[in-house]
Chain length 398, copies 2
């Protein structure tokens, strides 16, 4: 647990002003963009004053907003979001003060999984309600099943394939979560249903969105509107494997896009080729990672593929901290080009996804992956890393 929540603030407004010569104005909201006259409408939230502020170049970095189902009770006492730092502070305060016993998490994605761990560690009885028939939709069902199994073992109640239908309230405080199949007692409810790009400002200003609903940008993070850039969770990105636009609201991508936009706006030269969709998350002692395309995505593209799944060990079998790891690789039928990978396992498992990500970026085939000269010593991996065994297995199926 973190004692000083300020450690989570990457850069303060003071640092922006004093060290970077950036006039960072907090508590000022932009309420409209006027690209034709190159100006934004600003409202000072402290004194409610409004005015037009001109710009030479504009970066839209409005991020994502959490999805809140349009249900009565979504704003009730005891129902929380964990989207930003104030949300987290509010939730932590509630956990500390009210000592809830039963926590219900709506949504079984990254945030839901992380919150399940956090609530378990505080001794709550934890329930996850997920509309899809599996946890973690960015994993294939068989890999998500490994996560579900670990969660069940740790006592998490999983209701998969059940949609949130409403809340039972008393004096505007949540009592129960209602799904389309049951009603679940809840002292607190965490909504972790996902996010969508915060594009309303852009949309109203006529700045084009892409096919994924996020602001359309090119490889310099320029929108299709003159003098306007966009970066981060409000913007689209390009998927290097599907070769199509994608919307992946993750910190790594947002940071990379911001850097490229900054360089381009400042007159430098940089481009962002795109992403391969890497993500990692931890649930208790289980590590979960994915990169590239998953089966559903490959099928959506109409591509033929082979699958290799290997159960191995994170370290030399005889090494004391050696743990279980399951590696799944997906490769194009015929050519053997790596299309994606997923990893679920114990300590040390997940970051092997970086090898998969690098191979995806390199356009490697699984035949090429077999020869990877990965580091070996008993405390770090078996002589044949499970990843290499999976690549060998995939290569035999082409």
């Amino acid at each position: 647990m973190l004692d000083d929540i300020n450690a989570l603030v990457a850069v303060t407004p003071e640092t922006f002003r004093q060290q970077r010569a950036i006039d960072a104005r907090i508590l000022h909201e932009v309420i409209a963009i006027d690209p034709a006259r190159a100006r934004v409408r600003v409202r000072n939230l402290q004194d409610e004053k409004e005015w037009w502020e001109p710009y030479d170049k504009l970066l839209i970095a409005t991020g994502a907003i959490p999805i809140r189902p349009p249900l009565i009770g979504v704003d009730a006492e005891g129902v929380y979001l964990v989207h930003n730092l104030p949300d987290a502070i509010t939730l932590r305060h509630a956990l500390d003060q009210k000592r809830p016993k039963k926590g219900v998490i709506v949504g079984g994605g990254y945030i839901g999984v992380e919150m399940a761990e956090a609530l378990l560690r505080r001794g709550l009885e934890v329930t996850i309600v997920e509309r899809a028939p599996q946890l973690m939709l960015t994993l294939d069902p068989d890999m998500a099943e490994l996560v579900a199994r670990e969660m069940a073992e740790q006592g998490v109640n999983l209701y998969l394939g059940e949609g949130l239908a409403g809340f039972d309230l008393k004096n505007n405080s949540v009592l129960r979560v209602i799904t389309d199949k049951r009603s679940i007692p809840a002292d607190i409810v965490i909504l972790a249903i996902g996010v969508r790009p915060n594009t309303s400002l852009a949309k109203e200003a006529g700045i084009p969105l892409g096919e994924r609903g996020a602001i359309k940008v090119n490889e310099r993070m320029r929108t299709e509107t003159d003098r306007v850039w966009a970066a981060g969770d409000c913007a689209e990105t390009f998927h290097l494997i599907s070769r199509r636009p994608a919307y992946i609201p993750l910190a790594t991508i947002a940071n990379k896009q911001g850097r490229i936009a900054g360089i381009d706006i400042a007159g430098g030269s940089a481009t962002f080729p795109g992403v391969v969709g890497t993500a990692v998350v931890k649930f208790s002692s289980l590590e979960i990672a994915r990169s590239g395309l998953q089966e559903r995505e490959i099928e959506g593209l109409g591509w033929e593929y082979v699958t290799a799944k290997v159960e191995g060990r994170t370290r030399a079998g005889y090494y004391p901290t050696s743990g279980k790891i399951t590696v799944k690789l997906l490769a194009a039928k015929g050519s053997g080009r790596l299309l994606g990978g997923q990893i679920v396992g114990e300590e040390g498992a997940a970051k092997r996804i970086d090898i998969v990500a690098t191979c995806l970026q390199a356009g490697f085939t699984v035949q090429e992956m077999v020869h990877l000269d990965l580091g070996y010593a008993p405390p770090f991996s078996p002589v044949w890393d499970p990843l290499l065994i999976a690549a060998r297995q995939a290569a035999r199926l082409l």
Copy 2:
């Protein structure tokens, strides 16, 4: 510590015979190869009988032999090698029975470093004597210095730039290690000076060796002699970055070569493109890794290069198990092509070398590395992995 030493035996002779239909004859030594008549001279070490055994195809997998300096006392009581399993059993027995207080390790490479940890954990006072002016010659001096500093902090006496000159003995038991600068009291001495390819059989049979002194092989692990293959620590390998033959006696390479040789001998088709020279080792809580070429090697090739060195954190700075990590990248001046990388740091640091190894194999530039879509979550890395920061820094120096 390992209770059952048999866990270290990957495949027993019984498994070879019963499950793989391989007539594995232990305690039979090949004492000569006769390629002209396609036969080997075999001696049964149990009954001393000798005979010629014919072959259709021959694989030489004689491994490496430890270097033993030609000094009086090298065979004395209390002087140990740690080359194979019987060596380890003998050493462990001596540690258990004699309870030595002072251990001197001759050689500061991978084995020396690992043995230092093992002896420290048993409570010995540990001294390392290394002829070179630095530990771990496969690292650049500045990175090796980080290892030396950690060793010194943990109380290891380091005598660098000092050659082994001899031993003080009493009744054929070692009392002191003599270097060219001092004499060091020793209850036990471990010789970890390095290995050389075990090529005497091949050499006597006229099977050509390569420029590194190991058996010369092509990418199918064929020697230049008809019907004879070689693989593992007795054979050469090809370095993908220097584009020259290399001798790197490591388990990963030996295993890969053995697999290729087996496929080729059995009539299948496979080739081994080569290696990038990846290695990892652990000393106590410090993780050490390298891949590609180091400064000395690049200078030896006459190439111009840039260096980026970054001190960062293994995980998000605020995460409880976040630790120190130093990443060094070497890239070709001008083109930016990655030439090598070295990592020293706390838990979680070393296996990032696999990303470096994969980039080397892909022929990536540091400019391309900046865009790597590595997995991020606070328990696993900072948003900007130190590796990406090092790549950014290197890209600015081109």
